[in-house]
Symmetry: C2
């Protein structure tokens, strides 16, 4: 096992009827809050009213910053930073899924500096402080509610970049599974795929020879995500299924998956970020396209780990290592088909002749993420397995 530091200070408040605690939890950090949210969905399902009432009852003045879109964009983050500065807010409240959270994180860091917040994303500056962030989560997917990462798209440069910094952990995240009841089936499925991808990035790029604690943890998360997603898709208002999916997705990327593995890569995300930067597709949809192709590519190089995955996650026990590895990938792909996520580029009308352009875009992120073995040629080869 490699050396590591694990320090996740986020307070998770999980369960039914917990949303109104956003008032008292936020009041601990100030009296004026920038409330970041997405589009109309939180107004339709009453979460907007619950949050604003709770904040006002706690004596908090709210500056609203709605309109975050999925694959959140830098220009909207800039507007949020401007609002936060003009109004001298004490704290940020995020109400939404990963896109809202990541926008809120970017605003929380950008509000305390004079330079463009994008400099953090391209490694030209590092975050030294951020406004405190509290959150009401409405989507089980990104894990941003309990980690220090954020991803934002720069529309001008067509770059979807992300990174982590310890100042970006939310202080408090409120996870009420009921807040996800109105997430439609395809977005629920995208969320489950995203959470599974987070785990599998660590699992398959891990170079340590034997890591039983982390492996069993991650295999359990994958099994739980699949199982709970299946149950949600049977009944969108199954509380326990929504709860299991929400908690599994949070645990998938809260630091435990990778603790002790040393340097691992995020190649599937790296490639997917180019898909969503260029074609504005849902992140989970992009991942379900990239994952099978990347896994086929990688399994030719490290089949043992894929065989272990097949055995422990899908109970595939017959065949040699290569056969098991292939069957495990096929089993995951079949599950994607079952939950109706796209599994190849053409399913989302991405032209195959764009592959060189996508690869070129991805290489820029590969450099920033220090994954220099991912050349344009290698990425093209992987993308050709995604058709």
């Amino acid at each position: 096992m490699k050396n590591f530091v694990f320090h996740n200070p986020t307070k998770i408040i999980f369960g039914k009827d917990t949303i109104t605690s956003i008032g008292s939890e936020t009041a601990a950090y100030g009296k004026k809050a920038l409330m970041v949210y997405g589009r109309e969905s939180i107004k339709k399902n009453n979460i907007y009213d619950q949050v604003t009432e709770a904040l006002r009852e706690a004596g908090i003045t709210i500056i609203e910053h709605g309109g975050v879109q999925s694959n959140p964009v830098l220009s909207h983050v800039h507007q949020g930073i401007k609002l936060a500065k003009e109004n001298r807010v004490d704290t940020i409240v995020a109400v939404g899924g990963g896109s809202v959270l990541d926008s809120a994180k970017a605003i929380s860091a950008g509000a305390l500096v004079d330079h463009d917040v994008w400099k953090f994303f391209i490694g030209k500056k590092s975050i030294k402080d951020a406004l405190p962030l509290t959150c009401v989560l409405t989507l089980a997917a990104s894990g941003s509610e309990m980690n220090s990462g954020m991803v934002v798209t720069n529309e001008e440069t067509e770059q979807k970049f992300g990174f982590a910094n310890r100042h970006l952990y939310p202080k408090v995240s409120i996870l009420d599974p009921c807040a996800t009841f109105t997430v439609p089936p395809h977005y629920t499925a995208y969320g489950a795929v995203d959470a599974i991808a987070h785990v599998l990035e660590y699992y398959f790029t891990n170079r340590e020879p034997y890591t039983p604690v982390q492996d069993h943890f991650m295999e359990g998360i994958v099994i739980s995500c699949m199982d709970s997603c299946d149950r949600v898709l049977q009944n969108l208002e199954d509380y326990d299924a929504r709860a299991d999916l929400m908690w599994a997705a949070t645990l998938a990327l809260n630091g435990l998956s990778g603790a002790g593995l040393g340097k691992t890569g995020f190649p599937m995300h790296m490639i997917e970020h180019s898909l969503s930067a260029l074609y504005n597709i849902a992140h989970g949809a992009g991942l379900s396209i990239v994952m099978p192709g990347w896994m086929i590519y990688q399994a030719q190089r490290t089949p043992e780990k894929f065989a272990q995955f097949a055995e422990r996650v899908f109970n595939i026990t017959s065949g040699d290592i290569e056969e098991k590895a292939a069957e495990g990938i096929q089993a995951l792909l079949s599950w994607f088909v079952k939950i109706k996520t796209p599994t190849n580029l053409t399913a989302l009308h991405i032209p195959i002749q764009d592959i060189p352009k996508i690869a070129e875009n991805a290489v820029a992120l590969a450099k920033i993420w220090n994954m220099k073995d991912y050349t344009a040629e290698k990425i093209e080869e992987i993308l050709k397995l995604c058709v």
Copy 2:
């Protein structure tokens, strides 16, 4: 899933050559520290020197409080509180295993109040604050390094009581697997049993019908503890094996096992505490005596969960539910025999005619832990299965 709050603020610094960071980490909390440790072992293996030098280099004045014994006693805690008060220390440094940590936690809370610290244990007072605590761990077992619990024995009343309070999380815990190289085989095994017991208390007393996230997490911990303990017993200085065992034991009781399960009990610990209170046996040894008996008793009442345990942890797939349940318990018992932990009362020369006395002692803790269904009769019945 039941509602829960998860908020574990302990910073874990894990790995080789990390012990000297105790200096800078502790200096963040003050200039004068009470250093709590056990007997001679940390002087023999150089940890004492590493810690004291690092603290002094960080400009910290050390007040020493050594001599903590396993099953740490209240009188020694009282002495530590006296020292902490007299010297007006800013912070506590624990160097040792669970007994040292728990003594240090009791001192950290007791140093800030005028009343007897035991009042916290019997529920007469509640902890409102505590001195900051940093730690260098030398034994993989209790999980105290990343949780808010503590257990202390009152020698006068022959009561071994414990509880949790959010002020008792260590600020920083340094986990260097090398610091456990000198732990002898039988204590290594006791530690693994302790960690497994922590998980199984939640696992088998969980009344929620279906908790895939937690179950897979806990099954993974049990498998990892067994696997890594086996490897350590082959080679006491196998770094990776020591590391896997150390991290698995920490994760076993850091709040994740029980998050979302609602009210669960700790019946095996409750009964074991009486064994170690009355006979001063090692906690892990006591657990390996109590666990099989309690599991046999409980499996007659909730066989389904025991069958799941047998299937997922020991790959026992044939037989009906009752048969699988019994085989799973037998498999764990066989593993205890393999790692040479005692599996019945007579193995530690505890007289069978003492069973009523042990049960009577345990009932006092059952009341405090709010496990009122554990009457003396029921505990006697379980203890009779431990002979």
